[in-house]
Symmetry: C2
Subunit: 379 residues, 2 copies
């Protein structure tokens, strides 16, 4: 019940135990084509999707170094630790950063982005986060995309933890560069980053002057655009790509819209359960359906005891805070392979762990709030 | 029977089918410690080993960008496509390159390296390849290490395909930066790069001025040096790391020296089989025990027919040439999970495929040469 790496469905796990083909065989390349085609459907895009052996941050850095040149003016719209990462990467590469910082727990203010766009005449790019995992907040990508579309800037979105889990329409929302990781909504082990590139982004690849080699989009695009079967410039993470094909099958069997709905239900159930225990949510609006952050800053609950208790006694992995929220919150994930029973069990375990750690909690209060919500929802 | 990605032992495959722990749990970090400790033994080093979610080339680029600053003078000692990669990466980052090119099929001339070292007064680094996969040649890392040791330069070795398969002593041979990939001698799926850093290399990390983020060794070292349990700055490729622990167990059960000996036997058996069929080896000395390159430049055999025939009829993956040897050679791998039966079967299949493609070949000649060698060797 962490916000990723998530639990992996058995069918996806078992797939990695099969003998592995060499990546230059037609068999593998056909499978890779299934993956790329499937991801286009799941990401709601016709854009070219590049696949890299890297964690999500590698995909973020790849996006920066392939879109920009030294000194380029960029807006970073941040509302947490992962938004800040765009600024950190941009700084490492000498970009001129115009940063918008929302209070952690709140979403990026679209009007502030609109104002900032007007104030930067030579704007090269706008970077933000879809689902801010560090705070459990969803940003309004559609509205920001509308603003960036009218400029020469490219719109770069960290969709690592949110895409696949919450409604996301790459093309309709005018996202030029979308970064997605394997270990969240796609229910895979970590180790793959996907980047979907619009035509506007592909043109930018040709002029970008930041140094690059392994993460070169030009090298990647050469093996994707106009090719019958996709390929990668360097050895791909074969086992993870084959697992991805399996995961896409599972998602499409359920239907991506149904996955989104299930995610929304599990998130709402979790929030209701937590609130019924007298705990406070960090966010007050724009709730993420990927992860719920519980605010412990009033000192009534020690978040590290919750994290340790759930793992030690029940084997449930959740996470504490990161960055400036370290030691101040705990986070319950509900992304991927998570159902009603998982939420019920987690809230029940949470009640026990809270009680044992000396917190004021009425046993059963969280569970019954979840039950009542699920009863109303039907099955 | 490709030179990697190699066949994966069942015990390693099956490991990826187990439920996966979150990477922030103590259970995972203990497993990760086993991996790092085990790799130190297999690489014969006390140096700090960083683990990255990336293919081997990512590890190579990481080494360049963490060791050097723009304009630094480096020697690239190349004898094939992978040696050339050091030059390509160095060029992408604006280094001043002094290149030594051995004829493809021959090893790097150690005397030429010695001369070059004398001619570059402000030498910052020397880069070369242990096993040149594109030609099936092994370079004399020990002798080059001896030369570089006496300078202020760091010695960087691409051990991606060779380490784990052929005798390699990182510390004894004065290798400052060793890059190893997962999909060769370690018998894992592709997707992990390991980099072992000497004290000299670690000092260089502090002064290197090339831009970096995901591949920052400074970030990686902070979580490794002096820590009880190792960690990575970004989400690690959990499933591959756990598979690595299993692979290390298998290698140490056989004994790393015995793995090297088996590799040498399989390589010699392959060379004898190939030669008994009237085929020519590309190399004439410094044979790699990882891969045997068969020279088809006299036109008697079409290498693409061999590659297609072995895969299509027998399901045996081998590879053709790359770079300037494309269409001119085929390569038989014998690294990792390969035994006598694999070599016998491959040579038998090769005979059939050659015969069917119209080449002059005496059926059984290759197999019996292998058999006689194995008989002499005993079991």
């Amino acid at each position: 019940m962490a916000a990723g790496p998530v639990e992996i469905p058995p069918a996806v796990l078992v797939n990695a135990a099969l003998p592995q083909p060499h990546h230059r065989t037609k068999g593998f390349r056909l499978a890779f084509k299934d993956v790329v085609d499937g991801l286009q459907r799941l990401f709601f895009t016709k854009n070219t999707i590049l696949t890299m052996a890297a964690s999500g941050t590698g995909g973020m850095e790849a996006s920066v170094i392939n879109m920009f040149s030294p000194g380029d003016e960029v807006i970073v719209a941040s509302c947490g630790a992962f938004g800040q990462r765009w600024a950190d990467i941009s700084k490492a590469y000498g970009l001129t950063i115009h940063q918008i910082d929302a209070e952690w727990g709140k979403a990026v203010d679209v009007n502030a982005v609109a104002e900032k766009i007007k104030s930067v005449p030579n704007l090269a790019g706008v970077m933000t986060t879809f689902n801010e995992t560090s705070t459990g907040v969803e940003n309004d990508i559609k509205s920001i995309g509308e603003l960036v579309k009218a400029t020469n800037a490219v719109f770069i979105v960290d969709g690592i933890s949110g895409v696949g889990a919450m409604p996301f329409k790459t093309d309709e929302w005018n996202v030029d560069v979308l970064v997605v990781g394997s270990q969240k909504g796609l229910m895979l082990p970590p180790g793959l980053a996907f980047v979907a590139l619009s035509e506007k982004a592909k043109k930018r690849v040709e002029t970008s002057k930041l140094p690059k080699f392994y993460f070169s989009f030009a090298k990647g695009l050469k093996l994707m655009v106009g090719e019958e079967l996709p390929d990668t410039p360097f050895t791909p993470a074969v086992s993870l790509i084959l697992q991805c094909r399996e995961a896409i099958k599972l998602i499409e069997k359920e239907g991506i819209e149904n996955v989104w709905k299930r995610g929304a239900r599990m998130a709402e159930a979790t929030r209701l359960g937590v609130k019924a225990l007298g705990l406070k949510l960090l966010a007050s609006a724009n709730f993420s359906n990927v992860v719920t952050a519980v605010d412990c800053q009033d000192g009534a609950v020690d978040p590290s005891k919750v994290v340790k208790g759930l793992l030690g006694r029940f084997g449930i992995s959740i996470i504490g805070g990161q960055g400036k929220l370290k030691g101040k919150i705990f986070r319950l994930g509900h992304v991927g392979y998570v159902d009603e029973l998982d939420v019920l069990a987690t809230i029940a375990a949470l009640e026990l762990v809270l009680k044992e750690s000396g917190a004021q909690v009425k046993l059963g209060a969280g569970v019954s709030a979840v039950q009542e919500f699920l009863l109303k929802q039907g099955n």
